[in-house]
Subunit: 434 residues, 2 copies
């Protein structure tokens, strides 16, 4: 989203002319709604993993504490557990002398009751003996003998004590289902004595690329073959989002082969991502194959976005299929816009957006009316703040535009241009340096 | 950093009074500089990994292209390769008829030269035959017979053509050493025909916890033992930052045991993180052990920050040691502030900051003069924008304050308070919901 932009019109209804063979294009937001509505709420499968394997996983069930943390009142300072009422007048000039009747050791249960005139030595983390209700820290006391201590400061009830259940109360809902588990969350799971935790199973997403021209490894005698990078890049993007990519390999521009790959993906995986062959040309067989495979088939074909216009969204027998364009940049944007929400839906979680920064635009950006443009920029820190420089080549055939970019400006459909010097919001997709 | 804040004084020189036994405290920025200066620039070790294992790794050497991508001029549309000078007047009402002399197939080398009056069929991705200098898209042509096509639109030189080397030019520096490899970067590595890539070896960081009271698993007969969660949490934080945590286990409050653990860590690992025993009490043996171990030993002990004040920073025989407090919240903040830059230094990379958002503060925050405070907040979206609500309990003994928090407000040393209603910057550490 951009600020201070030139608004051309507020709703895009019609797109002038045909677009590379598409009769009409669907708006990004409409396309995504249609797709997610058709997917519905897929059944979330759960599995147990050990706590130390749970980082980044989606919690499958609420965690309810079955104990108090800490289990007893505890000292948070080294010092002496006292009855606060006895020392409320204590001061450097008015020491209150107490008899040390023992030491409450960390990790052990102290059995004695603190009587009037008595104190018990405590260390950070040790239990507060019954009778005592405050801790005076070492530095505010003077040890007179092995069993006598002078208290040199007043103390209030509860001072320097961490109460039983202060951290976690028995019965409390500690973590809610659907949350992405962080390091500190693992800590509380372990503190509760858990060994395993129920998490959402990672959805397996099948990936294949179509195209007779593709190879996985250049051969000297076939210099004009094209190395398929989409399966690799998309697999990593699936992985980053919490899915498990399943590589179905390269598929030729052949209806039978494409049908077979789609069937294989749909049979045992939660979703399928196909790249190339997604447009309306002679060799764009994927959409037709999807429609032959089952209902409802293609839901959206051709989206008012740049790059990734020839993207198709489909559902067959309840399973989502993403038909992405073959140009790597298009495939990446198609996945960013539709694949990320798809995987979040399969995980029952929210989409994690990229961090957003504000930057000053260095060069004018133009947009085709009705399209949502994703403009790759180089973000740089300067003494005057962040600047965003649109990369010269924005063609979807140029992968280096994604490699050189560390930011993306999303230009909405109703914005025809953003002038140089405007402040824009930029999605951060890489490190920013000076 | 906060905006619109009450500035108390601009430089903190002295801290009033003693702080839990520390005679003086070092400012966070000074402590970090001292620590990183003493570490210097450790030798970066490299290793080869296969491309598909390189996500998130730090590139160990510049990548220079040994080929052009694309290797030849290529069509970016399905259509006909033509000599543009012949069709510059073409129009619907003025068709230019050309003879189709062949088809340039994707992935193959087309040998014929396009002569005047000729055209060659091309598909997206196929090579442009010599002689031709533009592509007319299918939709702007009319096929008259199997070997005759009418061109219905003018064409300019280079139109619908992706030039040889347009994406990557031979000899170009494609990726620079030190960059964190992303999915699209893996794509370009693969496109260049690479199979393996040289990356920085992950630094191995030894972790141990000290404390007689600690256990890894609660036992029914020792209900007052404390489950050690620091090793787990810190290990995950090391992992998230690109290091390999090495668990040295639990160590008793015993000088010999602590010395042995430190020696073991220093012998074969790049850094050591010890938790608990980091303060100045009777049982805080870690700092003294570090000093016995070698030079320069403890560099900083006691830092003007909350939480994590009793943090120690040390270097022994060129290897960094982080002595973190035992309370999990303190250990986490000590690691955030000093462990993250430490690992970045070991990787030869930059620290990745958390995303930052602006939010309206819901309740006043107070800060002790001279301290840098890390205030845990709950960030929430509201119809009026983001709000940040400081969590009620900020004690470092309360891990739930880290579990409930999805944001952190860093209050600088010269700010005594931030009033409710002010706009603050918040580091985002978890998902934000409504």
């Amino acid at each position: 989203m951009c600020m201070n932009m030139i608004v051309l019109f507020t709703r895009c209804i019609q797109l002038p002319g045909r677009h590379e063979g598409f009769q009409n294009l669907t708006k990004v937001s409409d396309a995504l709604h249609t797709f997610l509505d058709a997917i519905g709420k897929p059944r979330i499968r759960l599995e147990f993993v050990s706590i130390d394997q749970s980082l980044g996983r989606i919690l499958g069930a609420d965690i309810i504490a079955d104990r108090f943390i800490p289990p007893t009142d505890r000292a948070v300072m080294d010092g002496y557990a006292v009855r606060s009422s006895e020392v409320h007048n204590a001061a450097e000039g008015n020491p209150v002398v107490l008899r040390i009747v023992g030491e409450s050791k960390i990790g052990e249960v102290f059995r004695l009751n603190v009587q009037p005139g008595q104190a018990v030595a405590v260390a950070t983390g040790s239990s507060i003996p019954s009778g005592a209700d405050a801790v005076v820290m070492d530095e505010r006391t003077k040890l007179l003998s092995t069993n006598e201590v002078a208290i040199l400061t007043p103390s209030a009830p509860g001072q320097h004590i961490s109460r039983r259940g202060e951290d976690v109360s028995r019965g409390a809902v500690v973590l809610i289902r659907g949350r992405r588990i962080r390091a500190q969350d693992m800590g509380v799971l372990k503190a509760l004595g858990l060994v395993r935790v129920r998490v959402v199973r990672k959805p397996r997403v099948a990936v294949f690329s179509t195209g007779n021209e593709l190879t996985d490894m250049l051969q000297r005698d076939r210099p004009n073959k094209i190395v398929d990078i989409n399966r690799l890049v998309l697999s990593e993007m699936i992985w980053e989002r919490g899915g498990i990519p399943v590589d179905l390999g390269l598929v030729r521009d052949d209806e039978e082969e494409i049908m077979a790959a789609l069937r294989k993906g749909l049979r045992s995986r939660e979703a399928v991502v196909a790249t190339a062959g997604s447009s309306v040309g002679e060799k764009d067989l994927v959409p037709a194959c999807i429609n032959k495979l089952g209902k409802p088939g293609m839901l959206v074909h051709g989206i008012a976005m740049r790059p990734a216009m020839p993207t198709g969204l489909a559902v067959v027998n309840g399973k989502p299929i993403l038909s992405l364009p073959g140009f790597p940049v298009s495939a990446i944007f198609g996945f960013r816009v539709f694949g990320r929400p798809l995987i979040a839906r399969l995980l029952g979680s929210e989409v994690i957006d990229d961090p957003v920064v504000k930057a000053v635009l260095r060069e004018k950006i133009s947009n085709s009316p009705g399209f949502r443009a994703f403009v790759r920029v180089a973000l740089r820190r300067t003494p005057d703040g962040l600047i965003a420089e649109p990369l010269r080549v924005q063609r979807s055939s140029v992968l280096m535009s994604m490699v050189a970019a560390n930011g993306i400006i999303v230009v909405p459909e109703d914005v025809a241009a953003i002038e140089a010097g405007q402040v824009v919001e930029v999605d951060v997709i890489g490190e920013i340096s000076y």
